[in-house]
């Protein structure tokens, strides 16, 4: 029983991390229908940027966190402006391959500057954040990441539901021509969605770094695990990303706990294929409203 509970807690927290990582991915897809294969590298960029600020430049944590968010925002904006904008209207394979190319470029750069070794942040989370539920111990990083995840989820939910820019972003995702006819600046919306997505990715990268340490290969592979997560949740649903993440996280920990640790890394993809075959729009994706 205790084993089960420990697995449950682990699964939940890992799942929340997956969900958080998938948030930015969903955002890009929602606004511009781009499948971003460079998402893992965006996560890694944020994590390493934070590392530079905290460990090398010794900037206070909160300031460093804010600077990282701002830097990621600018990075996302620049990526859209330089690489993605010329491809608006091009066919799917070019857009996909462009992000694949970007992934390899970013990864190469990160390896060049930081190498492939594991690096860690200085320990800065207060130990008081840890939770003791009965016999189960929840480490402070998990509590902190859950809190951060919850806050950001709420913020983004509100942003999309109520703010004008959020509504414009949804309108572009819905019907680009109609949005254009009303004067919505579609390119600005694309740029903004990339910027926000990179910001979320940067933040998730930091949290990942706190928990697992920072390693380029490790974080990049999480970028690919985003796919089962978002397909499960529905490619365009923010809440779905979180729930999909949690389901995948639980699945992974329980598979490795009860069946076989080696199955852990492939089980999400098996689920992915099954989901695609029976319910391609995912659990929470928008089913196309088709009427003429």
């Amino acid at each position: 029983m205790e084993f089960f509970l420990q697995l449950l807690i682990n699964g939940l927290s890992i799942g929340l991390l997956y969900g958080l990582s998938a948030l930015g991915f969903v955002m890009i897809f929602k606004a511009s229908s781009v499948l971003n294969f460079a998402h893992g590298q965006l996560l890694a960029m944020g994590a390493f940027f934070f590392l530079v600020l905290v460990s090398w430049l010794k900037i206070p944590i909160v300031v460093a966190f804010l600077i990282t968010l701002a830097g990621s925002f600018v990075l996302g904006f620049a990526v859209e402006r330089i690489f993605l904008r010329p491809l608006i209207g091009e066919s799917l394979i070019f857009v996909i391959m462009l992000t694949v190319g970007l992934a390899s470029m970013f990864k190469g750069l990160l390896l060049f500057f930081f190498g492939g070794n594991l690096q860690t942040y200085p320990d800065f989370l207060p130990a008081g954040l840890a939770l003791q539920i009965g016999t189960i111990y929840v480490p402070p990083v998990y509590v902190a990441s859950s809190l951060l995840g919850g806050v950001f989820l709420l913020l983004f939910g509100l942003f999309f539901k109520y703010s004008p820019q959020g509504i414009f972003m949804r309108s572009v995702a819905d019907n680009q021509t109609a949005a254009m006819s009303l004067g919505v600046h579609v390119k600005k919306v694309f740029a903004l969605s990339w910027a926000i997505a990179a910001l979320v990715a940067g933040m998730s990268g930091i949290v990942l770094g706190i928990i697992n340490g920072i390693n380029v290969h490790e974080i990049s592979s999480i970028g690919l695990k985003v796919f089962p997560v978002v397909i499960l949740g529905g490619l365009d649903s923010i809440g779905g990303a979180i729930i999909g993440g949690i389901i995948i996280g639980l699945l992974e920990t329980f598979t490795s706990g009860y069946i076989s640790p080696s199955l852990r890394d492939v089980i999400p993809y098996i689920v992915l294929v099954v989901i695609l075959l029976i319910k391609p729009y995912g659990l929470f994706g928008l089913v196309e409203i088709e009427r003429v």
């Binding site: 004008p164 509504i167 309108s171 019907n175 006819s181 009303l182 009427r291």
Partner: protein
């Protein structure tokens, strides 16, 4: 009424539009839209009406179309081939053909998108105004637009355009696929908007009869050219328009091949 040149809000001088650098759709279209009037653009399918509207609103660009010749003058400045964002900010809003609401947004959110050109300004009052014009929308504020009826959708997209405070409203076939009673209601509202808001309207229609009842002036297009123009009342009485667009043959007589030929000949000359 004597027309002075500054009363013209929009003028198209001999414009040509080409899609994908090869397909020429408009071949020298000129028309004039006086301020505060309703001008109707009639013609059969593929005549180039929608393309004309898109040339004005800048929506040709995403479809790889371009104004290659001539000029579009709006309010004294040339606007051809500007991006849609710039054009909408000048006060031109197009209502697209075939009712395209944002299906996954609620009615109210849809209306809010209409304020994109001036999204920092207050907009609550405009919302009231739109609900006043289109009362059926009031009770469905929170419904997803994708689940509304055709008539409600048409009202929604028109209301959404009104939110932008357009000086020039381009309406593309508002009657498409709607019940006759709803069509009459919509045209009544168009008239009201024109009279109360002073909005200049360009109305593209297949339903020539309805269009000519509310328009002040009309143009008839064929094959990418303007083939006929005149005051709405005059056009309504024109035997050719009657026969080919209103579907009433002159005096109820059977059409003879000769008449058709004479019309075709005339069309060539025009």
């Amino acid at each position: 009424m004597e027309e002075r040149p500054e009363d013209t809000l929009l003028q198209l001088n001999n414009i040509s539009v080409v899609y994908s650098d090869v397909i020429q759709v408009l071949k020298g279209v000129s028309l004039k839209v006086p301020r505060g009037r309703i001008v109707s653009l009639l013609g059969s399918n593929g005549a180039g009406k929608t393309t004309t509207l898109k040339a004005i609103s800048g929506l040709l660009k995403p479809e790889n179309g371009k104004v290659t010749d001539g000029e579009i003058v709006y309010d004294g400045s040339r606007v051809q081939n500007l991006s849609p964002e710039e054009i909408t900010r000048l006060g031109i809003t197009q209502v697209l053909e075939g009712r395209q609401p944002f299906k996954y947004l609620t009615i109210e959110e849809n209306l809010k998108v209409g304020t994109a050109t001036r999204w920092l300004k207050p907009w609550k009052k405009d919302l009231e105004l739109v609900y006043d014009y289109f009362p059926p929308l009031t009770k469905r504020k929170k419904t997803l637009a994708g689940y509304c009826s055709g008539g409600e959708m048409q009202m929604l997209v028109m209301g959404r355009a009104l939110m932008a405070h357009p000086k020039l409203l381009l309406l593309d076939e508002p009657s498409l696929g709607l019940a006759p009673l709803v069509v009459r209601e919509i045209f009544r509202i168009i008239r009201r908007i024109n009279e109360e808001q002073g909005t200049t309207i360009v109305l593209v229609e297949q339903n020539a009869n309805m269009a000519l009842q509310i328009a002040h002036y009309g143009y008839v297009m064929e094959n990418g050219k303007i083939v006929m123009e005149g005051e709405a009342a005059t056009l309504r009485e024109n035997p050719d328009v009657k026969e080919f667009y209103l579907g009433v043959s002159a005096g109820g007589l059977a059409r003879s091949y000769k008449d058709v030929k004479s019309y075709k000949r005339r069309k060539r000359w025009l």
